[in-house]
Each structure stands twice: as structure tokens, then as C-alpha cells.
Amino acid sequence: MARATGDAVVVAEGLHKRFGSTQALAGLDLAVPAGTVYGLLGPNGAGKSTAVRIFATLTRPDAGRAFVAGHDVVREAVRVRHRIGLAGQYAALDEGLTGRENLQIFGRLFHLTRATAKRRADDLLTRFDLAHAADRLVRTYSGGMRRRLDLISSLIVSPAVLFLDEPTTGLDPRSRNEIWQTIRELVADGMTVLLTTQYLDEADQLAQHIAVVDHGRVVTSGSPDALKAQLGGRIDVVVRTPDELESTGAVLARLAGATPDVDPDRRLLSVPIGADTLTLPAVVRLLDQAGVDPQDVAVRRPTLDEVFLRLTGNPPDASRDGDGATLKETVG
């Protein structure tokens, strides 16, 4: 699995963490290269948020080690805190203060001078289109605005790594797109982002690398395309009448050397691409010879959903028992 590499900004080696009877992390290994968006993808309770909490020095691992920007998260926690930004699933903001006051106070706690903190707050509010609401109490903000303010709160000091724990969970599609756009802009500036998500399209859209996390460890990792390729493609044939299923099945079986999966309701036959003889032109030609005029023939790339299902045995969005440790997790 992943080991510490020269340019990795976030490194985890065999992280273990248990909350009561829940084993949140069971030997998590990770290496996040600088300047990339790295997605931690997994179902609720997989341990993604616990990993982020350890990287952000909010909780300590029971075993294993983690480094952020070259610093040990336990022994050099204060140094780590100088180099990270953290934005969460639950907008960690002061509801009773205005947006501007929130940013200024965070700036001061990042040890900026009063003047710099003020200027920085103004710059960020303008850049991220919140200037109009700067002097309103956060309590009056919409969900999307809160999330945006939360995100820019983590940018007060340009961090070496930005941790985003489920940045768009619970947002409407429009707000989600806005957040995605903001994240893309940050990455264009060269920031390293470690993102946790349970949405496959989010990981697909934003991340260059994905680590699939399940039961507290990384099950597999790679680029979204590489993950999809692991599963291989399929050829799907949809026929016009149910009585064509049998003859079509025979053609596919001959080419693929395997019995196709049949879905009679959708009149769909499907075989995995593997044998050299199985190509789209060959399928079309042989079906034509057999007198079958299919409604549709297509090569289908697997979706990340399928990759996920294959790897974890669970559909991605299925909640399961056991606590998903979130940024605001209150396990005692």
C-alpha cells in the first residue's frame, strides 16, 4: 500500500482508531501527492472523517503514524496546525457573529495582525462573492452561503493542505456546483486538497486520485479512470422482442466464451469484455447473420458505482450501522 514518498503532503501509516466498540480505522495507509485533489471515497462509517480528524490534529490515533507537510500530527501538532485548512460537513461557524467577524477572529487565531486579518477577511469575502452579506449574522445565511464561508474560513492563511470533509453533503445541486467551482479554482492555484465524500460523481469530478475506504482501511486507490478500468468494460445488447433473447445469447456466448447475463424485463444481454474475439463489429456482424436486428448495441464503461459495489460489497450511498465519525462527531 501507500508509503511515504518524497513529495507526499499527507502520509498515513497503519492508522488505527477505535471509539468504544466501533473500530473507525483499522490500518489506514495513504500518501497524498502535492498539488493534487485526493478523494477519500467511502460509505458512512468507513472511517474517512476519522482519518481527516487525525490529520487535522483533532483526535489522536491509537496506533500508526501520520504526517502532514512533513510534520508528525501527534508530536508536532502545532506545526501541523500552521499548515492546514479545515472545512467540514457541518459548517463550523459562529452563528451569532457576522461573516466578517467570523473571518477576522479566525485570522487573529491564525496569528495574523489585526490589520492583516481585517484585510484578508475583506479580500476573501469579495473574491468569493459574499461581500454583500459580510455584515449579516451567519444565522441568516443560506446553506450554500454558510458552506462557502466555511470553505473560505479555511483559506485565511494559504494552507499547504486543505481538508474538506464532505464539503457538499446536504446541499442543493446549485450550491453544490458553486462549491465545486470554488474548489476547482483553489486547485488551479496549486493547493493540495484532501476531500472526503460519499458521492461518486463528486470524487469523479474533482479528484485526480481516489482511495476507496471501507471498514477503516484503503481497499484500493488510483485515478478514477484506472479504478473503472479495473473492472473492465461490458458489451450490452438490447433486443426488440423477447424471443430474440435466445439466439442473441448464443451469438454472444460464442464470441465471449461465456454465458451472458440476461435481463428479460429490459430484453438486455450483457457480457464482460475479455476475449479478443469479442468486439463491437463482430457482435453486429454475427447478429446480422443470425437475422437479429438489435435495438441497441453498446460498449459500456463501468460506473464508479459498480467499482464501489464490487470493492466494498455495498452500494455507495447505503447507510450502515456504526457511526460515521464526522467532523462534529460526538463519540465520547
Partner: protein, 278 residues
């Protein structure tokens, strides 16, 4: 985007102390800003002491007999000062639980600010708000006949003692805040502070209480603090012939109780806050 680095990475000595103080003041400032945006809370801070003086001084006071010729309000005021001070335990607890629940504390904890400074900032803002409450209360007390019968030095010592007590009490509240972690539970536990303050000499002398209750009341740190204030302000006190040790030496006892609470709860709370949930 302009690159902004954190102000100081490797700070030593004086610079570090300066940032520590800055962090404490920043967190304190934040809490006071919240008050500014919630005028209702300011009204509460002022109205509670006034209501307490009227309610306990006149409504209950009219039925509570005290030593011959003594003014009950003069007897009561030190009790109310301590009551106001002790109930800040609930404020400290609920503020911390609420901030933790929202995730604000996690954000603070992920920042370079020293974690103990964050807690000290909370304590400082509680000290300031209670100081305002005490001032309002003392003003009301003067109107209803309470006086400092000693000198300005003793009066200052009295208020100083109250602040020491509050600093100690805040750490108990913050400690509970790191343990509870649930806003509803914290809100339910809050009112339990009432019996703690009432099983004491705040409203009535302890001599008349049944033996067990009397022992509890006399060893209650609240009683020692009230007795200490009565002594320092020169207000009427009703001390039994055979008081428990804390009531015989109220000032020493109050300092002792406060130091004990600080020594136990301050390091414990800072450690729990630093380590995070386990």
C-alpha cells in the same frame, strides 16, 4: 491569490507569551461580540440581578426572620453575589457544549492558537460579564439598603474573592462541557445548580437546618464564600456557636476551595480539550 503565511511559526519566549495573550483576548472578544448581537442576553445579564434583589429581598425576605434589628437585604446581598458567581458554571458549560456541537471548537482546535488560551478566553469573558452583573446587583443593593460597612480595601478584597471563586467555578463548568457534549443534556443539567446554591447560608442561617442538611450546607463552598463576603463587606452574619471549620474561617476556606477546584479541574479540562474525543 496572494499567499498569506501564518504570523509566527517558531515563536519563543516573549513573542509566544504575546500570542497567548492575544489568543485569550480574541476568544474573549468573540464571546462579547456574540453578546453584542444578542441584546436579549444583555437585558438578561442586567435584569437577573435586579429581579433577584426584588424577589429574594422583598418577596421571600418579608417572611424570613433574621437577627434582631438586622436588615435582611443587607444579610442577603453577599448571598446573591455568590449565587450569581456560582451560576456562571452553567454558562461556561453550555457555551462550550454549544460551540463544540456546532464544530466551532474543532475549527479553533485546528488552528495554531494554544488550546488552553481558547479555554482561558472563555473564562475571561465569563469573568467580565459576571463583573457587570455584580456591579448592577451592588447598585440595586445600595438602593435597598445594603452597605459596605468596612473600608474600600475590604470591599475590593470581597469582589476579588468572588472573581477568584468564579475563575475556579468556570473550570468546573468547562470540564463538564468537555464531558457532556450534548446541548440538550447540558440544558437539563443546568438547573441542578439551584439546590447547590440554596443548600447553604445564602438565604437563611444554617443553624435552623436539620443536622445532616446543616453539615452539607456548612461544608458547601457556597456557604464559606457567602460568609467570607459578609465578613469583608461588614454585613450582618449569623454564625452559630459551633460552626463547621469553613464557616469559622470563611476567607481561608473560600481561597482553599477555589485553589483546590482550579488545581483539579484546570489541568484536567485542558488535557481533555487538547486530546479530543477518544
Amino acid at each position: 491569490m496572494t499567499t498569506i503565511g501564518t504570523g509566527v511559526q517558531d515563536t519563543l519566549g516573549l513573542a509566544r507569551l504575546r500570542w497567548r495573550i492575544s489568543d485569550i483576548l480574541t476568544v474573549c472578544h468573540r464571546n462579547l461580540l456574540q453578546l453584542k448581537h444578542a441584546p436579549g442576553q444583555i437585558v438578561g445579564t442586567v435584569a437577573f440581578p435586579l429581579t433577584a434583589v426584588v424577589l429574594f429581598g422583598y418577596v421571600f425576605g418579608s417572611a424570613i426572620p433574621i437577627a434582631e434589628g438586622a436588615n435582611y437585604r443587607a444579610y442577603l446581598m453577599p448571598g446573591l453575589f455568590v449565587m450569581s458567581t456560582v451560576t456562571t458554571l452553567v454558562t461556561a458549560m453550555i457555551t462550550l457544549v454549544g460551540d463544540s456541537d456546532l464544530g466551532v471548537m474543532d475549527r479553533f482546535r485546528s488552528m495554531p492558537a494554544e488550546r488552553s488560551s481558547i479555554l482561558l478566553g472563555q473564562t475571561l469573558s465569563d469573568l467580565l460579564t459576571n463583573a457587570v452583573s455584580l456591579l448592577v446587583m451592588a447598585g440595586a443593593g445600595l438602593v435597598v439598603g445594603w452597605r459596605v460597612q468596612t473600608g474600600p480595601g475590604s470591599a475590593l478584597a470581597g469582589f476579588g474573592l468572588l472573581m477568584l471563586l468564579q475563575f475556579a467555578i468556570s473550570w468546573v463548568g468547562l470540564f463538564l462541557g468537555t464531558v457532556i457534549r450534548n446541548v440538550q443534556t447540558a440544558a437539563k443539567l443546568g438547573p441542578l445548580i439551584m439546590p447547590v446554591t440554596m443548600i447553604s447560608n445564602v438565604f437563611v442561617p444554617t443553624e435552623g437546618m436539620p443536622p445532616v442538611l446543616r453539615t452539607v450546607a456548612e461544608w458547601n463552598p457556597v456557604s464559606a464564600s457567602v460568609a467570607a463576603c459578609r465578613q469583608l463587606f461588614g454585613n450582618p452574619a449569623s454564625v452559630a456557636v459551633d460552626p463547621a471549620w469553613p464557616l469559622a474561617h470563611p476567607i481561608t476556606a473560600t481561597i482553599g476551595w477555589s485553589v483546590l477546584l482550579i488545581v483539579i479541574f484546570m489541568p484536567l479540562t485542558i488535557r481533555r480539550f487538547d486530546t479530543g474525543p477518544n
